[in-house]
């Protein structure tokens, strides 16, 4: 009877996504190797560029002045753009279609004919997407460690670990926003586009708040505002309030999704 503890829908979700998970993980392994591996060749040029004021043109990103250091370079090139933005878009895209695609393809009809509750479907879809986040985090972290050791750069691996722990809560928050959209919207493409638009809008808001001191308050409306990858990686300084914001987002979005989906008409 306690079907929920057997996580069959979650396991199925993992199976459905294993290929894309491996592809994204490999992509990030490659990208991480490329960026960290490239640093020694660029170091001198970067120092020169920074001293000539080139860094100012990157002031829409936090800590742009640190580009010439290994941690700064890693943060700006890899974590700030590819990790927090591009990966969030990829994962958000997948999460936003998780339930929508079952509704759009009408496979939800048969799924719901089984003795499973609607809450269980939403919850297990969420659980089923967690391994994707864990695997990508783990692979990227290991790659950074490996390459850093090979090129003999200075990096606190404890801070790196912390960075990836916070990343997990960040991406889980992204997944939950995606799931909320996927129960609200019935068309897969529409749901995914809305998700991408939300992430871009939040990135834009954060950039504006960084560039214009008068608009700094705007940043608090963006998820990016709560995760300073440079501070974690360089100083081990985790924004605890930020982590709580992620946890709150996970709780609120997931609860709203469960409640909304429970009362939604599944029209054939």
């Amino acid at each position: 009877m306690n079907n929920i503890f057997r996580f069959r829908i979650a396991i199925q979700t993992v199976k459905e996504h294993y290929r894309i998970t491996v592809i994204i993980a490999l992509l990030f392994v490659l990208m991480t190797s490329m960026y960290s591996g490239m640093f020694p060749q660029f170091e001198e040029a970067l120092i020169e560029m920074m001293s000539s004021g080139f860094g100012d043109s990157f002031n829409f990103l936090p800590h742009a002045d640190q580009m010439a250091t290994y941690v700064g370079f890693l943060t700006l090139e890899l974590y700030q753009i590819f990790w927090l933005l591009i990966l969030a878009i990829m994962i958000g895209f997948i999460a936003a279609s998780s339930i929508t695609k079952e509704i759009e393809a009408k496979t939800i009809d048969l799924l719901m004919s089984n003795p499973v509750s609607r809450k269980q479907i939403v919850f297990e879809k969420f659980i089923g997407l967690i391994p994707m986040v864990l695997l990508i985090n783990f692979c990227t972290m290991l790659t950074v460690i490996g390459i850093t050791m090979v090129i003999n750069q200075n990096l606190d691996f404890g801070n790196l670990f912390m960075l990836h722990m916070v990343s997990i809560s960040y991406f889980l928050a992204i997944i939950c926003i995606g799931i909320l959209i996927s129960v609200l919207i019935d068309e897969k493409m529409k749901a995914s586009i809305i998700m991408i638009a939300i992430i871009f809008a939040m990135f834009f808001i954060n950039s504006v708040s960084l560039m214009n001191p008068h608009l700094e308050y705007l940043g608090s409306f963006s998820i990016f505002h709560y995760f300073d990858t440079f501070n974690v990686l360089k100083l081990g300084d985790v924004n605890v309030a930020g982590v709580f914001v992620f946890i709150a987002l996970i709780t609120v979005c997931l609860t709203l999704s469960l409640i909304y989906f429970e009362h939604k008409d599944i029209i054939s």
């Binding site: 009877m1 009809d109 048969l110 089984n114």
Partner: protein
């Protein structure tokens, strides 16, 4: 008195496996179904009849909790659909009208996945696979419509549920498979299983159902044993007379078509035969109502 009443209620609850009371579903302001009250007895094949758009699918989806009812009540096995829908589904199989199966899975993977969700022994799966021979190792997206339909039937019956609700289950099946499927349904009925069979194909309803409900514009217009319904409708009389057909004064429903006088009489054919004997009869047909006639009777002027 009280005990008697108790037993009568208990008896009813045991016998009516599906029961609805004024079940109503509105999509905003648009009526889906309204005030549906019917019951399906244990061990019967209940035919749910109506053309496309009459509200058959809405009824089924409301019963199974896909749609939130607007008002009314519904019980399956005496359990309220609002409170115990998950429990209810462990005893109910369902074949949706528009069947969509995960295309990326093979037939076997799909059945394994659903078996794990049912969490019961799949006692009928071998029998079903003997009837419906399917390439289970192939991905479902490569299946034809008929093959998908077979897979849909297999998943609904594989754990031998007490009720199976079917929404146009034979669409896409060839006539041979349809026959095998009807045989299988009769066998299930023999085991005391209940089936709710929604269709617009009158011949199959006539062939396998014990009782029917006819739905029109979201409302139930007939609910009866098929045979009783046919008897109730009376007889169809077609007669050709030598004289001008207009001369014969038949009942109000009389029509003249290609020189034939056609009318329906509810019970007494004797008086009409006596009346007709005054004319020269060239040909005479007296027929029972077919399900098709009944259906057309209920839908006359509707389409």
């Amino acid at each position: 008195m009280f005990i008697n009443h108790f037993y009568i209620n208990l008896f009813d609850a045991l016998m009516n496996v599906i029961e609805t009371k004024n079940l109503t579903k509105y999509y905003g302001k648009i009526k889906g179904v309204e005030n549906l009250s019917f019951s399906v007895k244990k061990g019967e094949i209940f035919g749910f009849l109506g053309p496309n758009g009459a509200g058959k699918t809405t009824t089924i989806r409301t019963l199974l909790g896909y749609l939130n009812k607007t008002s009314g009540e519904a019980y399956i096995f005496g359990k309220n659909i609002d409170e115990d829908i998950v429990e209810i589904k462990s005893e109910v199989g369902y074949i949706p009208g528009e069947l969509n199966i995960y295309g990326h899975l093979t037939g076997k993977q799909f059945l394994d996945y659903f078996s794990s969700l049912r969490h019961r022994e799949m006692i009928l799966i071998d029998d079903l696979l003997k009837i419906f021979n399917l390439p289970l190792d192939r991905k479902v997206k490569g299946y034809s419509k008929g093959m998908k339909q077979m897979l849909g039937i297999i998943q609904a019956f594989m754990d031998d549920p007490d009720i199976v609700i079917m929404d146009e289950p034979t669409s896409g099946l060839d006539p041979l498979l349809q026959q095998k499927f009807y045989e299988f349904l009769r066998k299930q009925k023999g085991k005391g299983k209940t089936m709710f069979f929604s269709s617009h194909v009158l011949s199959e309803i006539d062939k396998i159902c014990d009782r029917i409900g006819i739905i029109r514009n979201g409302e139930l217009v007939a609910l009866e044993d098929i045979e009783t319904l046919k008897d109730k409708m009376g007889k169809k009389i077609r007669v050709k007379i030598k004289e001008k057909p207009e001369k014969f004064k038949g009942p109000k429903n009389m029509k003249i078509k290609d020189g034939w006088i056609e009318f329906v009489t509810d019970t007494d054919i004797d008086c009409w035969i006596k009346l007709l004997s005054k004319y020269t009869i060239l040909d005479l047909d007296i027929n029972e109502f077919s399900l098709e006639d009944i259906f057309i009777h209920y839908y006359e002027g509707q389409t």
